[in-house]
């Protein structure tokens, strides 16, 4: 065995035998693939929990009048649906992608801090339990909305304390994950893989991790001040004690608006991998994509108060936040243009990952446009806290982030499992999701324009038809996701063996340098990138 031989890595060897087994494999795992898998399953479980909460909301709203649940329970459902979907489902899903893919895409053996990676994941289940346990506290869950505005949050019952600790725990997990991702990408790239040669998914996660590190202390500070206002006699947000409840809104949205991009930017990364693969063309305008993503991230820090036009602010501030918000459409437009230009004259095929990416592209753009509408101050003052806003952010979060996550799962499922999913069922999943999503949320634009406020369990009679349609769509959308679960389980248990490279247009390292399924250990000796 000479030096070259000693350094070469026989991947076929890796798949034999040496994996730890049993429950402790998962509890003690420092393997990025195992941890990525756990993140993805955890996020799906939370997606189901948050989804059930959404269906409770939509059941109550199926008809006007109080039908099924008490108003305080309804408020609790809207609160925890938002918190669980944002912090428990979508964010962990993309962290799962990051864990699985970043080391493989940069030619690294694992994450920079594998033990911290393990801890990052295992903080999530206790946080999730805290959020669920909050429902069973005296007085029920805290009906304060996912934004946890003061003074509602400072006056809520003991469930609020559990919620605050859950948010803290989730924040610690996110920060550790972000530090890990930043150091992994900066320090563990294969020789020759410069930053501007990285797959765009890695770039989007580098920028996302930067955003997370920048805003998480702000959220942690906000909820800690809420806690001290509740129990330790401070008056940060209590006007009677000299505090300012509007200050909470500023702090929360300074975190909250970048949070939207923390969710959306990795979704951009996934789509930027999938569309070129099924267009059989390189991504159009790679450098402009990187700069556009960074621009969106920078702008996201400068627009937070567009969520607070009705809280009262000087007209100059309203003008500034309106123009700054509208400015985000420029880099976002660059990205949409580049995705379309990638497909232009490409050899397109429409397998499930591509369908979900196109669904993302179409619906996210629609959500972006309604965002532009809401950025205009006088319009927003009319539409604030109506179902138009609910429709807008679900177009961004569900059709944007969730569709992109589905695209990514179908795209990389063969690499992860070594097996192919059922393409026909995958397409059924897409079309059912697309149709029912629009049935659920498109009509909510009309409800909002007609003046129906959000976060209410009862409503005026003129909103009845659209609410009924929306509720039917929600149940259809929810049931469609059970088909997704079936597809994934069927793929894992009895899917056909996947070829090494099932997508001929895929060109990142995990497809070109690793076998399928990805070996237990990959890239112990980094590949050299020309």
């Amino acid at each position: 065995m000479d030096a070259a031989h000693a350094q070469s890595h026989d991947h076929s060897h890796d798949d034999h035998g040496h994996k730890p087994s049993g429950i402790m494999r998962w509890v003690k795992s420092t393997n990025h693939k195992d941890i990525g898998t756990m993140y993805l399953w955890f996020s799906f479980c939370m997606f189901l929990v948050g989804g059930v909460m959404a269906l409770i909301i939509r059941s109550e709203l199926f008809q006007p009048g109080l039908q099924i649940v008490r108003p305080d329970f309804f408020n609790s459902m809207t609160t925890y649906h938002g918190l669980i979907m944002v912090f428990g489902a979508i964010m962990p899903a993309f962290v799962g992608f990051a864990n699985w893919l970043i080391p493989m895409q940069i030619g690294a053996p694992d994450m920079a801090f594998p033990r911290m990676n393990n801890l990052s994941f295992w903080l999530l289940p206790p946080a999730a339990l805290l959020l669920i346990a909050a429902q069973f506290m005296p007085g029920g869950g805290a009906g304060v909305g996912w934004t946890m505005y003061a003074p509602l949050s400072t006056q809520a019952g003991p469930a609020m304390d559990l919620t605050i600790f859950a948010v803290h725990t989730l924040g610690i997990s996110s920060i550790m994950g972000s530090i890990n991702i930043i150091t992994t990408i900066l320090n563990m790239r294969a020789p020759g893989l410069t930053l501007m040669k990285m797959p765009l998914f890695c770039w989007t996660w580098l920028i996302t991790a930067y955003l997370l590190v920048a805003v998480m202390p702000v959220l942690a500070g906000a909820v800690t001040m809420t806690l001290t206002d509740r129990h330790f006699g401070t008056h940060f947000f209590n006007a009677a004690g000299g505090g300012d409840p509007v200050l909470y809104q500023h702090i929360f949205w300074f975190f909250g608006h970048p949070e939207v991009y923390i969710i959306a930017i990795p979704a951009f990364g996934v789509v930027s991998q999938v569309i070129p693969a099924f267009s059989r063309k390189p991504l159009f305008g790679y450098a402009s994509m990187v700069y556009a993503t960074a621009s969106i991230a920078i702008l996201s820090f400068m627009v937070w108060a567009h969520h607070m036009y009705t809280s009262g602010m000087p007209v100059e501030a309203q003008l500034y936040f309106m123009y700054a918000t509208a400015l985000i459409a420029v880099p976002t437009g660059v990205k949409v243009f580049n995705w379309v230009a990638t497909m232009w004259k490409g050899s397109l095929t429409f397998e499930t990952p591509m369908l979900f990416s196109l669904g993302f592209l179409f619906l996210f753009t629609l959500g972006g446009f309604t965002g532009l509408v809401l950025s205009i101050t006088p319009v927003d003052v009319q539409l604030h806290d109506t179902y138009y806003v609910v429709a807008h952010f679900h177009y961004v979060m569900v059709a944007g982030a969730l569709f992109s996550a589905f695209a990514g799962i179908y795209f990389w499922l063969p690499k992860w499992t070594g097996k192919m999913y059922n393409e026909t069922l995958g397409k059924w999943h897409f079309w059912l999701s697309l149709v029912f999503f629009n049935v659920t949320f498109f009509v909510q634009h009309f409800l909002g324009l007609a003046g129906m406020p959000r976060r209410i369990p009862d409503y005026a009679l003129q909103f009845a038809e659209f609410n009924m349609i929306s509720s039917i769509g929600a149940f259809g959308f929810g049931l469609s996701q059970l088909l997704f679960l079936y597809i994934v389980i069927k793929c894992i248990t009895s899917g056909e063996k996947a070829p090494d490279k099932p997508w001929e247009g895929a060109d990142s390292l995990e497809w070109t340098h690793l076998p399928t399924p990805a070996p237990w250990h990959s890239f112990e000796t980094p590949p050299v990138i020309k």
Partner: protein, 160 residues
């Protein structure tokens, strides 16, 4: 802070029968890391101070802890970025060169006398005349086992 491993004259001999080299995975551009850390630290400080002036001073400790955490991660990563391990069997000599956290050490054993012994946590070590050096820091358990088998065979073959 990344540095290439030092190849001394012994190691450069083309005739070495067996060589093994592994390094800590490192593509760190220290200036880039400084830029990322510096910009984040500056940004977080400005944000925390800004909110403190507005009355929300409890953002400061969280920002401080996070800056410290990121700084520690960057420092730890940089400290290990030049680490490597090199082993060569050359005639009667077994030469091991290790660089850890910026410190280089070199060991030379007599090939007839050196023994391969199992250590803690799946590691193994070369031992002779009271000196011992662990081998296989930068590889997985199975690669380490493969290396151990290879070394055992070559050491045993030389003795007999």
């Amino acid at each position: 802070m990344t540095s290439e491993p030092h190849y001394d004259a012994d190691f450069a001999e083309a005739g070495a029968e067996f060589t093994y080299f592994r390094r800590h995975c490192s593509s760190l551009d220290w200036r880039l890391m400084q830029l990322v850390f510096g910009s984040l630290a500056l940004f977080l400080t400005l944000v925390a101070v800004g909110f403190a002036i507005a009355g929300a001073w409890l953002v400061i400790p969280f920002a401080g802890v996070e800056i410290a955490g990121l700084g520690f991660a960057a420092w730890w990563t940089a400290k290990r970025s030049g680490d490597f391990e090199r082993l060569a069997l050359d005639g009667d000599r077994v030469i091991v060169e290790i660089r850890e956290q910026g410190q280089s050490r070199q060991f030379e054993f007599n090939r007839c006398w050196v023994r391969l012994v199992s250590g803690n946590a799946g590691m193994f070590a070369l031992r002779s005349h009271g000196r011992e050096v662990a081998i296989g820091r930068f590889c997985s358990e199975e690669s380490r086992q493969t290396l151990a088998r290879e070394l055992r065979n070559r050491l045993a073959g030389h003795r007999f």
